[in-house]
Structure formats: C-alpha cells, structure tokens
Symmetry: C2
Subunit: 442 residues, 2 copies
C-alpha cells in the first residue's frame, strides 16, 4: 500500500515538472538525500552537531500496530473503509472540496441526530471536546444547572459546568438506574430558575439508557433547556433530537459511528443558540466559541470564514462512517444494535452471568455491564481475551470499578460474528479462570 501511494505521488510531480524547464539549485539538498546521509551532508557547517539534545535512541521504523477487536466501551473497531479514509490526500481546511465534505458530514449528522438544527457540526477534538464546547457556549457564569448523576459522565459534567461558572445542582440516582420523568419534574420544581437540565442518554460507566420521552417538553415548560450526552447512543439507539425537543446534544465519533476519535458531533437547537446570542459574557474559550466556529461550518448560512485549521483527516473518516450509516438507514442500524444486544444477553445468561442493570428497559444496548461473579478477579478475563483473541472488553469505571465488565457492541462490531466470537471467547476465559467447569472449548 505504501509503495503504491508513494509512486502515484511521485508521478504527479514528474507530470507537473514536465510542463516546464526546471533549473536545479546548485546545492541539491532534498529530504531523501538528507535522510540517506547519516552525516547530514546537506547541513552546511553543521557536520558536528551543536544541539543540546541528540535524537532519542528509539527505533524510527514505520509504525506497527496490532489489529485488535475493540469491544470495550470505545473506541470501537472502525470499518476498513472508514480507516482508509484517514490516508486520503490532505486537503486544505478552506478548500471548496473540503467544504463539500463538511456539508455532507453536517447533512448526515442532522439525519443521525434527527434534527434540522443549523448549528450541527463536528467539534475539532474528542467527545470531551464536544462536551466542553456544548457547556462553554450555553452555560453562562451564574447559571443554575441541574446535572443528572448516575455514573461517571454526570460526575464529569458537574466538574466541567462548574469550571464555566455554573451553579451546579446534582440530581442523583443509584448507578445502574435512570431518572424517571417524575424525578426530573421534582428537581425542576424544587429548583426554580434552573436554566439547563443535563442527562446522559447512554451512561457507559454503568450501562444504562436514560429515557428521554417528555423531558424536553417538561424542561421547556419550566423555562429550561435539555442538555443530553449521546456519546454512546448516536447511530446505535433511537434518538430523535427534534421530536423529543433536545436542545444541546453532543456525541463522539468512536462509538456507534465507528470512526477514530477526533471529530465529535454537536447539535444545538434554536433555543440553545438563542441563549448563546443573549449572553452577557464572552464565551470562556476561543477554540470552542460557536460564534467563531459556526461560520467556519456555515452555521446559519453564514459565509465560510477561517476560524481554526479543521481536522481534515478526521472529518474524512467521520464522513465515511456517516455515509455508511445513511446507506444502512438509521432505523435499521438501531434495530441491529438492539438485536445484537439481545443475543448477547441471551448468551451471557447461558454462561451463568448476570447483568448489572436490573431493569431491562434501562439497559443500554450499545454498552453492556456484566457483574463480575464472586471469586473471579475481574482483571483476569479482559487480560485473557486480549492475550488469546486480541479482543478487548473493559472493566468498570467510576462507580462500577472492580464490579463489572463492560462490553461495547457498537458500529461495525454490532454484527453476529462479533457477538458469537465474544461469547465463545468469554466461555473460554471463564473456564480459564475457574468460573466455568473445565470443559474443552471447541
């Protein structure tokens, strides 16, 4: 692959050079020449280095990466088509061809989110960047924000919102459970003047799926905005931003969409952008200021304007992942994730394992939390799976640390071959650690 690309590239130059008579510089000092000379012949007068620090004694050989199957809570294994887009020729961040790719990416993000929000884009950073950008623009110092905490992501939000000046009111429920409509209603009534209510749609640390129906309307009746983390749900679980009146919604690329981390979906309703427009204070970030980034993405039909150098290659990969989601169809993708989860639950039961989330309706199909059986050292199972199968599952995080295994069924991994492989490998591992009787796994 490498040689092919390189040859093509060199040919391009040869073709270009053929149109004119090139006058070579008297000193020919190309990258290749320099590289081939251990003495750095091209560095006139620099034969003896004056550098304070020599190059580190580590191998400069081309990168080698093992091919793992990533079935932890993310990143998930990307489809080869998605990965390959990361090696496509680089475009400038202001080139019309890249704007076209951005346009398509936004159109598909709107489809994935089921929204017509003009303020829909991919944040230049990982999921946390989208989370922070969402907060930076919509939370103004002094704003009262109710944060639903039933796992690590709610906890994280209490931290981030406070850094941006929010008066944070935690609303808690036991890890492994979700908030009811009544919980949210009570919290809003108890805390008049609340500007924003935050909940996590798919809490990957505990494996819960937060029902969203009615919450948007409820918040709006109380003059608040609804802010939702969909990092583990976009593209894998039914999500209807407009129909459910969600205002501030962010996600990640490396979960159900199956792209590498780096370009993270964000959408804001008109109510949310109106709150931004009405701010009395400047956004506490330049990088994340939607007033600055928005025009770069053409938000609101604005003329394209340079803000920062976009994540060109990451957007390529996100574009591929979204194109594949559109080809499949959103409802088909949702159904596929649910069916694979159902098959996983069935298989886990056959292995004698129990799910951490007791209420079936509260189970997140994309990240399943499995109770570590008594007498089993949790770390032994992921270690065995990685060693023998190069297959990743994870342990718990935050409130579930040491108590559960977490299995991701997301994107390209949400298909029968992955589930069946996982189940047979898990059986092997559980036998290895002595939880299952020592029967030959064939």
């Amino acid at each position: 692959m490498h040689s092919f690309s390189r040859t093509t590239f060199l040919n391009l130059f040869v073709v270009c050079l053929a149109v004119g008579k090139a006058t070579a510089s008297s000193k020919i000092c190309s990258w290749e020449n320099n590289k081939d000379s251990s003495k750095g012949d091209c560095a006139d007068g620099m034969e003896s280095s004056k550098l304070k620090y020599a190059p580190p004694s580590i191998s400069t050989s081309p990168i080698e990466v093992p091919a793992k199957i990533l079935m932890g809570p993310g990143p998930s294994t990307p489809h080869p088509r998605v990965l390959q887009a990361g090696a496509a020729p680089l475009l400038g961040h202001m080139h019309p061809e890249f704007f076209r790719i951005m346009d398509d990416t936004q159109a598909w993000l709107r489809y994935g989110f089921q929204t017509s929000n003009t303020a829909t884009l991919a944040v230049s950073g990982t999921g946390h960047a989208a989370m922070e950008m969402a907060v930076a623009n919509t939370v103004e110092p002094g704003d009262q924000v109710i944060v639903g905490v039933n796992g690590i992501w709610g906890e994280r939000m209490t931290d981030i919102a406070a850094r941006f000046g929010a008066k944070v009111i935690p609303m808690e429920t036991k890890p492994g459970t979700v908030f009811s409509y009544e919980d949210v209603k009570a919290a809003l009534e108890k805390n008049p003047g609340t500007k924003i209510v935050f909940v996590v749609h798919g809490e990957s640390s505990t494996g819960t799926l937060q029902p969203l129906a009615g919450l948007g309307k409820l918040c709006h009746e109380q003059g608040a905005l609804l802010f939702v983390d969909t990092v583990c749900t976009l593209g894998g679980v039914p999500l209807n931003v407009d129909a459910d009146e969600l205002d501030i919604v962010y996600s990640g690329s490396q979960k159900c969409l199956g792209a590498p981390p780096g370009a993270s979906p964000l959408t804001l309703s008109d109510k949310a952008t109106a709150k931004l427009a009405a701010r009395k204070t400047k956004v506490q970030s330049y990088y994340f200021d939607l007033n600055e980034v928005g025009p770069y993405w053409g938000v609101g039909g604005a003329a394209r304007k340079y803000h920062h150098t976009g994540m060109v290659s990451n957007v390529y990969q996100l574009r591929e992942a979204l194109a594949m989601l559109a080809e499949e169809g959103l409802e088909a993708a949702w159904a596929r994730h649910q069916q694979m989860a159902d098959r996983l639950y069935e298989g886990l039961k056959q292995l004698g394992l129990e799910l951490f989330v007791e209420d079936p309706a509260a189970r997140l199909p994309t990240v399943t939390t499995i109770k570590v059986p008594k007498g089993v050292n949790w770390a032994d199972v992921p270690a065995f799976l990685m060693k023998k199968y190069k297959l990743e599952i994870a342990g718990g995080l935050g409130p579930t640390a040491g108590q559960v295994w977490r299995v991701g069924i997301m994107g390209f991994n949400a298909q029968p071959r992955n589930i069946e492989l996982l189940l047979v490998a898990l059986k092997d591992a559980l036998t290895h650690v002595g939880f299952l009787k020592d029967e030959k796994v064939v």
Copy 2:
C-alpha cells in the same frame, strides 16, 4: 488497498471463530445484510420509517479527494508514510501499545523542541487548541500579559488571553517587522509586574521570524515567563527551547512536521508548571487542564490515568512525522528549509517579484510573503496555480490581506522539486495575468 485491508480483517475473524463453535442467532442481521437491503429487512416492524427526517439525497459513495500540492501557509502536503499511518488499525487510547507510541512521540517532541521538559505532549486538537491549552494553564485571571502583535497570531493571542482573564498589554510593531531585544526590555520595564511575555516565532500572516536569543533570560530577570508560538517553525527553523529559556511553547502538526492537523505539540518549562501548581483558581477548562491531561501523557512520571479519549490516529501520524524528522536530524532539516527558502528568494527575484519582509534577517524561511505587483489581482495567481497545477499558494491574512501571496516551504514540500515546480508554475501564472511578457513557458 481497501480490499486488501478488508480481507485481512475478515481473515482475522475467521481464524478467531475457528477456535469455538459459534451458535448463530436465529435472526441474522449483520451490517452487510442491512446495507444490501434497501428495505432494511433487519429492522423488524420498521419497514415503513417513522423517522421525522429521511436521509439526505447526497451520494454515499466512498470519499474522493484530489491530490493537491499544499504550498500555502499550511497544512503542508504530508509524506505518504505519514498519511498512511492514519489508516493503521485503531488501538484503544489506554492500550500499552498506544502508550508506547505516545512515549516515543513525546521523546521526539522533546528532541524537536530541544528540551528536557517533562510536560511535553501532543494536545488533542489543532494548533489553536494547543494555543488555548497553553493559555488556559499558565494564565490566571488578573495576570498581566504582554502580547507582541505584528500579525494575526499576536492579535489572536490578545483575544484568547483576555478570555482567560488576562490583563493584556499589546506590544506592537509594524507587520513585516519583528521585536528587538530592546523593544521587549522596554515593554517589561514600562509594565512592572508582568507575568508573561508572548511572541510569535514564525508569524505566518506576515512572513517574519522573531529572534528569540536573550528574550528568555530577559523575561526571567524580570520575573516573567516567555511564551512562544512556534506553529510555523518547529522542525523547520532553529529552535532551542531549553538553551533559549522558553517557558510556554506550542506548535502545530500540519506545518514543518508535515502531519495532518489534529495532534498539536506543547511543552512547558518547570517554571511554567510551577506557575500552574501555584494557581489559586481552577483551570477554566477540563479538556485542556494539564493537571488532568498530564497524567494521561505520563507527565512528571505520573501513572497513566484516563482523562479523555486520545486522538489515536492523529498521534500515529504525528509519530511518523517525528520519526522521519529524527531520521533526518534536526539540524539537517533546519538547513534544508533555509536552503529551499534561499533558492525560492533567488527564483522570485528572477521573476521580478519582491519580498514583503524587507530585513533579510527577519524573513521566515518556512512561510514566504511576496508582494503582489501593482496591476495584478492577487486572487488570479493562486486560482491559476490551483486550476492548472493543483498547487496551492495563499493570499494574505489579517494585516497582509490583498497585499501578498504566501508560500509555504514546509516539511515534505521543502525540497528542490517543489521549489522548482513552484517557480516554473508561478512564471506561467504571472505570464497568464500579464505581469510577465507572454513568452512560451517550456
């Protein structure tokens, strides 16, 4: 390439499945099945869509990107080896193999920066993210910061520093010129109590190279830290962070290093991290808080700790670019960039063009600003070069808008074939727009 990767991937599964007896789910609903069925057969009961929004009517064909030669102020054309790393199998952000890649990346960044700073890492975002992370950690509300403004990047810093609560004191000089040692000394003496002085090493909007010698020591004598933008210089222009006592230094991946944008170098001296440790206020960002990100990168020998999902593929590409820089040697790379710039200056003179930066010592070798001759519409030349040669050069930015062309000679593009191609293509363009006599370009 696509088929090859995919086949390999499928084989991996076949091998894995062979070890156990897989029980297929009664409903087989794979991604491929879904994709091949326009009716979404796998979405039980969802044959008629209940979605509010249908998929947008845009082509979902695999991405197609023209192969351009990027000789504007950045991004620069990556070497194929660097690009290809973006398609390498994805690792988890907490996998030991990825930690090893991070370690190597940091070691080479220290070499590139010529520093032993433990706080050296790649920020998860583009150059602006590194700029903002540098500010977020080192500027505390109320800090007096002298910002050298001689182009767009100094202006940008006045904005960002103010958002993080700095009392900004602009120190100005005419675009196309740089600050002398005496300028900085006078600014410090006029503004006692200054905590930080910011200058731009390579000002890409004007094409100037800021001399750094002595500035670090000067700042330290006055109790201030020296903060330097090296986005356009790291790996292309002599830069010695420790020897020149620079405290806060950030860069980009997509300039002289020649990687796609997305993982951006940052290094902080012990003085800078001590300032962070002594903060009375929390960093106004979670994503950029070095107290949180540092352990993820093992800064200070800390045990690895999850902070956010690292930019795995971007770090691969940065790692490749840095490995190639180490292979070549830093001094050789610096010399190569200077020699290519010298050849460009010579060629431009032969074409009757003048440089925007009058003082030869103040010229940035990596981004050259060329005066647009009278009577020439600046936009016609880049348009001609792009159309005929798929070769990018840029117009001015900020104070140079409409006045100059900007040519980047960075990384993989800093070699004779690029310079000679550019000169012959520029001659063609200048003839086309009537600046040069209509002679046949052969």
